[in-house]
């Protein structure tokens, strides 16, 4: 949808590598992304800004820092809650969901992949 089409003057070495197109799902709607790019980038390119609701007020939240610092882009990936969409690589068949209602806070490390 909104991928940059670089002008010829843009340095070749700076162009993003063109991965293969894959299909993934967000809240049961299908989208296309580039394999390996962060889920948050693929959703942004597809025009999706609202990635979930904050537990505090229920207000919409989305990508903010894009480098894993802020935890505003938490989504559920498969059965794993609180995955940061900015760090989660898109792959064929990935299924992600907005987290609503919010899951109870759990202890322990949530970073380990399944």
């Amino acid at each position: 949808m909104s991928r940059i089409v670089h002008p010829p003057s843009y340095p070749a070495a700076a162009r993003p590598p063109r991965g293969r197109t894959v299909r993934f799902w967000f809240d049961d709607r299908a989208y296309e992304g580039v394999e390996g790019e962060p889920l948050a980038a693929a959703l942004w390119a597809a025009g999706v800004r609202d990635l979930g609701r904050t537990e505090a007020t229920g207000a919409p939240r989305g990508l903010y820092c894009a480098i894993g610092h802020c935890f505003e882009c938490r989504v559920r990936v498969g059965d794993r809650p609180d995955r940061r969409a900015c760090l989660e690589p898109v792959r064929e068949g990935l299924r992600a969901y907005r987290q609503a209602p919010p899951p109870p806070l759990a202890s322990g490390d949530r970073g380990a992949p399944a």
Binding site: S2, R3, H6, P11, A13, Y64, C65, A66, A112, P113
Partner: protein
């Protein structure tokens, strides 16, 4: 961890950005058993999203990152552990224990290099937490790293160096932001200084700007001329990098229901005070450019003596000329030492790795002296300073180190 005895690393590096990768490459060159951790699945850190024109072409961070990754992968004693966030660390007999998100057992290392970089200062305007409002760095990641268009009509809020870097990069990609404007002053934005202070910061960069920027900056440096001129400038601003630099307009709020749809603006008078009625303009993406500060968490948690140095962007460790902290075996490199460009960060990474190698008898004084000189050279060659007086900031840290570590830092 093939060598080194009982799976203990010679060096653990946290952060696979320019500093961490350069350190790992240098450590590998000296045969140190090294692992680099980064919670991103992609190596390179902020390098990946940086590019700027240099005489005869472009400096492309992505190419620098690829070169460093290749150098690291070339070394049999170095492993790159991506998607592995270090969420806890502690000192223990003879070194450090790290807990990373992908390994069930802790990682042990004799030396630890913290290369965790910088984070962005918030610009907490009303509406800043709406979806569609992102940091300037996030825009670099979307557009420069992944080729995703940030917005059809994006609005940069803030006059930090990062604001102009992003505008330049988006412009080069053919998708310039619609406007660059300061945030309106407010109690939550005191850390950014009033608009007049932000103007001064922006004008510091004028020598890198278009032909009108230098004389324009000279005129605006005088408060009297500023009061006379700024109200006469069109509120649509001046053309800059395919965008519009709007110095006499401030963003009061981001507005929208489910995501950002626009910004609320006010005129600024010649002293930077909002005047007159507010109006709205459409914006489908808002990029907050508050500036950068070093990430101190891991250093602080491990008990390194810290100091707050304005010229370096915030809280930094008190370090020796190699980046060694007050905790034996704990080093820092890159923006964790102060906000500067990637070339300085790479040189600081190499310098720290050679200091670790020297402790193990794998580097001599000459190599170390060269590595230290390379940091100074990179600083002198930098196209601009993120903070005015960065060299003075480093001198203050050196003085604190010589006094036996101190600053306003916490006790070890």
């Amino acid at each position: 961890m093939s060598a080194g005895g009982e799976g203990v690393l010679d060096l653990a590096v946290v952060g696979a950005g320019p500093a961490g990768l350069a350190a790992a490459a240098a450590a590998g060159e000296r045969g140190l058993v090294t692992a680099v951790f980064d919670e991103s699945p992609v190596a390179g850190g902020r390098l990946l999203g940086q590019l700027h024109p240099v005489p005869g072409g472009w400096w492309v961070g992505r190419a620098e990152a690829a070169r460093l990754v290749a150098a690291v992968e070339d070394r049999p004693t170095v492993s790159l552990r991506l998607g592995a966030g270090v969420y806890a660390a502690a000192r223990e007999e003879g070194g450090f224990r790290l807990h990373a998100s992908v390994s069930p057992t802790p990682v042990r290392a004799r030396s630890l290099l913290v290369a965790t970089g910088a984070t962005e200062l918030p610009v907490p305007l009303p509406g800043w937490n709406l979806p569609g409002v992102i940091t300037a760095g996030a825009a670099q990641t979307l557009a420069n790293v992944w080729g995703v268009e940030v917005g059809r009509r994006s609005f940069v809020v803030g006059l930090s160096p990062l604001a102009f870097a992003v505008a330049l990069e988006l412009s080069a990609a053919g998708v310039p932001p619609a406007a660059i404007a300061p945030p309106a002053p407010g109690p939550a934005l005191a850390h950014l200084g009033p608009p007049a202070a932000q103007w001064r910061e922006a004008l510091r960069l004028a020598r890198l700007g278009p032909v009108w920027a230098r004389p324009g900056a000279a005129l605006l440096a005088s408060p009297a001329l500023r009061r006379a001129l700024l109200p006469r400038l069109p509120r649509s601003g001046l053309p800059l990098l395919g965008s519009r630099l709007r110095l006499n307009v401030a963003v009061e709020a981001v507005v929208g229901r489910e995501s950002a749809e626009g910004v609320r603006l006010r005129r600024l008078d010649g002293d930077g005070r909002p005047v007159g009625p507010a109006w709205h303009e459409a914006a489908d993406a808002v990029l907050l450019a508050g500036g950068l500060r070093p990430v101190p968490d891991l250093l602080r948690a491990l008990g390194a003596r810290m100091a707050t140095v304005e010229e370096l962007g915030g809280e930094v460790p008190v370090v020796d000329p190699d980046g060694a902290t007050t905790v034996p075996g704990l080093y820092a490199a890159g923006n964790a030492l102060g906000v500067e460009g990637a070339a300085v960060a790479m040189a600081q990474g190499r310098r720290a790795a050679l200091a670790v190698a020297a402790r193990l008898g794998r580097a001599d004084g000459r190599a170390q002296a060269e590595a230290r000189a390379a940091v100074e050279r990179a600083r002198a060659d930098a196209p601009f300073a993120f903070h005015a007086g960065v060299a003075e900031g480093h001198r203050r840290i050196a003085a604190l180190w010589q006094e036996g570590g101190g600053g306003d830092g916490r006790a070890v």
